[in-house]
């Protein structure tokens, strides 16, 4: 397999993202509105979208943001939410190897769900142009930036009071994501129940909501992994 890296591949990657923009916009707007309500400036909001570039982690961190910015909890939450990106590395590695210098590390810095999925589809079709990845990542990054900045601007104009029903959009984003993640009752019910119960139990005890989320998720996943490998289902 020969991997090439062409300008044409970059454009093809960018074009492949166009149909996904509609699905990305609501998340970006919600991130922007929530960031504004938590007191982040437009510059800080744009900076976060630019260099973190991970919607789920941004929503989770911002929802649990407190008066003083929670440096350690936000970092731990981002680490936990984004662990899945590590799993995408090996399949993209042959493409990243084919790129030189800053292009390679920019691609690594932009590992993200949809660009990964589009690139796998491209590989399955026998096309190996490494610049496709960078194009797809940029095609997602640009509307992500634009939509979070617009969301922040909307938040400043409307100035919703804390607790306004529209803020339910933030938890709803992650609740909606449960649907594509669902693999069936036999697989998911037990770890999800443990995660929910643990999180509910420790939330009142912890001053930092983001850590309760991480503790709940780790407990649920440990129980699930234990059942899948050692115990249960013999």
């Amino acid at each position: 397999m020969t991997v090439i890296a062409t300008r044409e591949g970059f454009w093809r990657g960018m074009r492949a993202c166009v149909p996904l923009i509609i699905g990305l916009l609501p998340f970006g707007l919600v991130v922007g509105v929530v960031a504004q309500s938590k007191g982040l400036s437009m510059f800080e909001t744009a900076l976060m979208s630019a260099i973190v570039f991970a919607g789920t982690a941004q929503i989770l961190a911002l929802e649990t943001w407190q008066e003083a910015a929670p440096v350690l909890p936000a970092t731990v939450a981002a680490l936990a939410v984004n662990l899945r990106f590590a799993l995408m590395g090996p399949s993209l590695a042959p493409w990243f190897d084919a790129m030189r210098g800053w292009r390679r590390w920019l691609s690594v810095a932009a590992v993200v769900d949809h660009a990964w999925a589009l690139s796998l589809a491209e590989m399955r079709n026998g096309r190996h142009d490494a610049m496709f990845y960078l194009g797809a990542a940029f095609g997602l990054w640009a509307p992500w930036m634009v939509s979070t900045v617009i969301g922040h601007a909307m938040g400043s104009v409307v100035a919703l009071p804390p607790g306004h029903p529209l803020f339910f959009a933030a938890p709803a984003c992650l609740i909606a994501l449960l649907v594509p993640v669902w693999r069936g009752a036999g697989i998911d019910i037990l770890p999800w129940a443990v995660a929910a119960a643990t999180s509910l139990l420790v939330t009142p005890m912890l001053p930092i909501p983001a850590l309760a989320v991480v503790i709940g998720a780790v407990s649920g996943s440990l129980v699930g992994a234990w059942r899948d490998t050692a115990g249960g289902r013999a």
Partner: protein, 102 residues
């Protein structure tokens, strides 16, 4: 609006550094060492358990309205597969139940 305070900047940089570390470790490390079955199973459960662990206290805090909003979000997402419609319907349901309850 251009202002930035130090703690906020540090939190953003911390998130960015953690996220980059995960991304780079997948490329540099995970291709060389094969994660065992337990770690693979653990990671495969992580997205779902994270969302549930996040949603459960948020929904519980919002009571009946939270429950209504969550159920409608899930049902609309499962039927339409559209995040836009599921968010609109979920927020609408949350809003409706809350205004009825007070």
């Amino acid at each position: 609006m251009i202002g930035a305070d130090l703690a906020t900047l540090l939190a953003i940089l911390g998130m960015a550094a953690a996220t980059f570390a995960v991304r780079a470790s997948g490329y540099l490390v995970l291709r060389r060492i094969q994660p065992g079955p337990f770690l693979r199973a653990f990671l495969s459960h992580l997205p779902g358990t994270l969302f549930v662990a996040f949603a459960a206290p948020a929904v519980a805090k919002a009571g009946l309205a939270g429950l209504g909003g969550a159920v409608v979000t899930l049902v609309v997402m499962a039927t339409t597969r559209s995040t836009t419609w599921s968010l609109l319907a979920g927020v609408g349901a949350f809003w409706a139940v809350r205004s009825l309850a007070f």
